[in-house]
């Protein structure tokens, strides 16, 4: 018998999400040449039903703990649907279907596995599965190359980006691995100057992670995944051991790898050159066109934007998956962009608080790693869109068009909610 929980704050926030999604959709539809048609409300209405269904599901299952993550993730997904309607309305129904699948994946992750800590027992299985998935796009027949990056799996017309699933598997593996070995890694007696030298067997995984990251950069030509992969590992290593030097060594390895890659591989050098000189004569109408148009959109937005549906974000090629942040900033301005970033900030802050209070080291590292994925992804893509760092193929979590990303991000939310639920159960809080 499961006690039903009352999740009032969550319910209250979802009403605001519903209002936000429907208003956004109406604004976009009304600005179209064809004018507003009532049937266009079907998509936001369906989304609202999905969001409330998830709330009812959590309450009926008696899930306790956090009530903030579901509304924030729902708000971001709603903004994503509004932007797909605005930027690529032919993909809208597809994105809504993916949202439905993502909701199913969320519910499944709440139910399975029954005991979340059991995940740590199969850590080498997760590691093997993760590495296989990571290198799977390199295989013939099923691997696909899109826009120069070989990061897709394809069967018929359905494509899937395995990296998205890999990041969650890796966080589970890192959390389990570091829970077991963090004391050996942190309390090593031998030091070379200020640098701790752990016994060789424990260094192997660190070097192996770096090597795998380099393979991804060289053979799959995916800078974003490389950055994310190493970033997650280094952050979790630091959280588990408190040793700054591991992080510094990792960053140094990344810099060395990046420097070598810049001089040896054309695709890395091209990305960096676009980033440094997007307005150069031979770049701005060619390889740098996308970034330059994105920057114009950002500038055009001003403080309050052109108004939803009133800007010209369609000038940016592939705007719906690569440059949603710039499109959003153009139409709702600096004010809207700051609000969007604040939503991510709240999400990550909440995730880190869940990590701090989790009852076991594995759950702490798991929650921290999952929150860090969202933080780093947001930083890398928003930084790329605004020319703070070179542009990479990372997607803006929950908002950018894309099925695999949406599904895995919702599974990530479910895992965070479960960690919070376990904490509440241990402590006897609602």
């Amino acid at each position: 018998m499961i006690a039903v929980t009352r999740r009032r704050p969550e319910l209250g926030l979802l009403f605001w999400v519903a209002a936000l999604g429907i208003t956004g959709s109406v604004a976009v539809a009304a600005a179209e040449v064809a004018g507003f048609r009532p049937q266009q409300l079907v998509v936001p209405a369906t989304f609202v039903v999905i969001a409330f269904a998830l709330h009812v599901f959590l309450a009926a299952r008696g899930v306790r703990g956090d009530q903030l993550l579901l509304p924030i993730a729902a708000a971001l997904t709603a903004l994503g649907l509004v932007l797909v309607q605005r930027l690529a309305s032919n993909l809208l129904v597809q994105q809504l279907s993916w949202t439905l699948i993502a909701a199913g994946a969320f519910a499944a992750t709440i139910l399975i596995p029954k005991d979340l800590t059991a995940l740590s027992r199969f850590k080498w299985t997760w590691a093997l599965l993760g590495v296989l998935l990571l290198i799977s796009p390199l295989l013939p027949v099923i691997g696909r190359e899109v826009n120069g990056a070989r990061i897709w799996l394809g069967v018929g017309t359905v494509t899937f980006e395995p990296w998205e699933a890999v990041k969650i598997l890796l966080v589970i593996f890192f959390a389990a691995y570091l829970e077991e070995f963090r004391e050996v890694l942190a309390q090593t007696q031998r030091r070379f100057g200020p640098i701790p030298v752990p016994p060789v067997p424990y260094l192997v995984p660190i070097v192996a992670m770096w090597a795998i990251a380099m393979v991804v950069m060289v053979f799959e030509r995916d800078l974003g995944a490389t950055l994310l992969f190493l970033g997650i590992f280094l952050a979790m290593l630091y959280l588990a051991t408190g040793e700054v030097f591991y992080t510094l060594i990792g960053l140094l390895l990344l810099l060395v790898g990046g420097f070598v890659a810049y001089h040896v591989f054309g695709h890395v050098a091209a990305r960096v050159d676009i980033w440094l000189h997007p307005f150069a004569d031979d770049v701005r109408f060619d390889t740098g066109y996308q970034l330059v148009q994105g920057l114009f959109a950002l500038a055009n937005g001003g403080l309050f934007g052109a108004g939803l549906g009133n800007g010209m974000p369609d000038r940016i090629p592939v705007v719906w998956s690569d440059f949603v942040f710039d499109a959003f900033a153009e139409e709702v301005g600096f004010a809207g962009a700051i609000a969007l970033l604040s939503l991510y900030l709240l999400f990550v802050y909440r995730g880190m608080l869940i990590a701090l209070r989790a009852p076991t080291p594995f759950l702490q590292l798991l929650a921290a790693g999952l929150s860090f994925i969202v933080a780093l992804q947001t930083l890398v893509i928003v930084g790329g869109n605004s020319r703070l760092i070179p542009l990479t193929g990372i997607t803006l979590p929950f908002v950018a068009y894309g099925g695999s990303s949406l599904v895995t991000n919702w599974m990530l939310v479910a895992l965070l909610i479960r960690v919070s639920d376990m904490t509440a159960r241990v402590r006897g809080t609602p």
């Binding site: 704050p9 208003t23 009530q67 509304p71 108004g307 939803l308 709702v332 609000a339 608080l353 241990v426």
Partner: protein
């Protein structure tokens, strides 16, 4: 007609931005209240509990040794347990001590020789209070408040 439509359109656009900020404010409010509630429970749970060895058969564990408890603490003969017991009467994975709703519960994991709470063999999961004595084989442990 045209002008009314344009005014409406702008009202919807501005409304969208306003709603975005209202949602953000509400979310901050929810987080703020949740944090206040969690801080109270932090103080209540800070000192989880400790097991103190009262009687022992050999050198491991020694009498007087203290084990700080985790939210889920495993007890048994295997060295991998949180509380390892070297007593042939203990099963490899003997029992588990768990915090549920802020209370300690002991559950026997189907051990051969059973677990005793204050001298009585337990059948189901049983609530353990501070000061209660737990006996497995020739080893006795007492649950005390606070971290080791």
């Amino acid at each position: 007609m045209e002008i009314t439509f344009a005014v409406l359109l702008w009202a919807v656009r501005i409304g969208f931005l306003v709603l975005l900020y209202l949602f953000l404010l509400r979310a901050f409010g929810v987080l703020h209240r949740a944090l206040a509630a969690e801080r109270v429970s932090d103080n209540a749970v800070r000192a989880l509990g400790t097991l103190i060895v009262e009687r022992s058969a050999g050198h491991s564990p020694r009498v007087g040794e203290r084990f700080s408890l985790r939210a889920s603490t495993s007890i048994g003969r295997d060295a991998g347990n949180d509380v390892p017991l070297t007593d042939e009467a203990a099963s490899a994975r003997h029992a588990v001590l768990e915090l549920r709703d802020g209370e300690w519960w002991i559950e026997d994991l189907g051990s051969t020789n059973g677990t005793l709470v204050n001298g009585t063999r337990i059948e189901h999961a049983e609530r353990l209070r501070f000061g209660d004595e737990l006996a497995i084989g020739r080893i006795a442990l007492r649950l005390e408040k606070g971290a080791g």
